[in-house]
């Protein structure tokens, strides 16, 4: 509770500072609108439903691509860790593509798929996939071999060992990779939405883009705030419980 209040106080202070800067008239109000104006925009957008539908469209794209990227990346990472040939081929490719900024997939996706949901999906999957492969591969390689040996003496072998010993043992790395994959997917989706208009759905990135087109700074800042809150919530809701679990089991918490 105390930590929550501290955080609340911090953000209230930031808001007040912002309002003070606005009132000092250092910059044109077109460039630095008052937090009240931004609040009014958000309230309006919420009331007429544009905000909710944009959030829904964006999150749906994100989750779809992310879950698919995970479902593909996890087994591929296990395979590259298991088979030397795959490590030297697919593993190398993943390493290279992981370092590629995921925005770079946008032009390619547009040419291949046009202005469609498929292009969005493709970009998010590419953002997620490679870092999940790398993290899973890396996690498996860091599992102490003695775990598998101990499991073998107790009658575990083959797929059973992989599912019940190697996979949970690699979990700290895998969750790290899932988190990174999420961050990459989120960034690439925003880039794609800002870059290109897709008629099948109007996401947060589009709102941001049209805020700029219309010189509506309160919309730009308002949407950025929404993005920030979504990022925070994703971390707190999806990843924090996992990390707490890992810290408790592995004894890595402070």
């Amino acid at each position: 509770m105390k930590r929550f209040l501290q955080a609340l106080l911090f953000f209230v202070a930031m808001g007040l500072l912002w309002e003070a800067l606005f009132r000092a008239r250092l910059w044109s109000p077109v460039l630095v609108p008052s937090p009240v104006t931004v609040g009014q925009y958000l309230w309006e957008a919420l009331r007429d439903g544009t905000l909710a539908s944009a959030i829904l469209v964006t999150l749906k794209r994100l989750l779809l691509g992310y879950v698919f990227g995970l479902a593909l990346g996890l087994p591929l990472g296990l395979l590259t860790a298991r088979f030397r040939l795959l490590a030297d081929t697919l593993g190398l490719l993943a390493l290279g593509l992981q370092a590629l900024p995921s925005v770079c997939w946008v032009p390619l996706a547009l040419l291949w798929f046009g202005q469609t949901e498929a292009a969005m999906f493709f970009v998010v999957v590419m953002g997620t996939l490679w870092s999940v492969i790398i993290a899973t591969d890396n996690g498996v390689r860091n599992v102490p071999p003695i775990y598998a040996r101990a499991a073998r003496t107790m009658g575990s072998s083959g797929l059973h060992t992989w599912l019940v010993v190697i996979l949970p043992a690699a979990l700290p790395f895998i969750v790290g990779g899932m988190k990174q994959g999420w961050a990459f997917a989120w960034r690439s989706l925003m880039a794609a939405e800002i870059y290109v208009t897709i008629l099948s759905g109007f996401g947060l990135g589009h709102l941001l883009h049209y805020g700029r087109e219309l010189n509506a700074m309160e919309q730009v800042i308002g949407i950025m705030l929404v993005l920030l809150v979504i990022g925070l919530l994703a971390d707190k809701i999806f990843f924090s419980p996992w990390e707490r679990f890992l810290h408790r089991r592995w004894g890595t918490a402070k």
């Binding site: 040996r149 101990a150 003496t153 107790m154 009658g155 575990s156 043992a169 408790r248 592995w250 004894g251």
Partner: protein, 270 residues
Amino acid sequence: MNLPSEIAAEALSSKLSVQGVSKTYRSGARRVHALDNVSLEVGEGEFVCLVGPSGCGKSTLLSVIAGLDQADAGQVLTDGAPVVGPGRDRMVMFQESALFPWLDAIGNVMFGLRLKPGLDNAERRKVAEYYLHLVGLEKFHHAFVHELSGGMKQRVALARALAPNPRVLLMDEPFGALDALTREQLYGDIQRIWQQRKKTIVFVTHNVREAVCLGDRVVLFSPHPGRIREQFKIDLPRPRDINSVELARHATAITAALKHHVRPETEAGE
């Protein structure tokens, strides 16, 4: 308490027969001749300690008996049947506890039981509880691995190895990383459990006193290549105290023999 027949039944032990086992492996560019034509008979319910400097192949032999590593030549028989792979009749305790950090203490003990057919989950839990009690950890069922001290981890590892009711227990320097006081407690416990559960035990150590304290027989290895040099029968009454003068006398004689067999220059190569 109505314990499953698992525990109530008189536990069985096996006769082990190691016949002409040789093993060479690569370590970087070097070839290590870990075992050279090693033969050893271990009787039913016997407690045998393998002693030697590091690199003498005693741990390799244990892995071969466990079925975790394959011999290049020779074979290992348990009650006349050749060992072809790991089996629940031969459980291993490693130097590091090798406990799984994602499971609590009882989850670790139950791991091997889950793979054992013919038990339902309630019975598995009962068996696991029995063995945790046997090693003195009845209050730590739900402790996670990092919450346990080094000695407690090895107790859980012992319970985990005992739980599938193996006929042979293979112990690879299990107390090597523990402090002296904890070790002494465990010497008492392991002797009590061995007498109670009647297992055949092969115990690897480089500590001669430890070997004399625990073993019916001490088998001396020398390295490069790994060979058995000499064997000593230990007739001291049990339970033995590692600090007793009588025990120290035996240990001194064996240490002298060990020094004789291991020439200084070969040890410098380690």
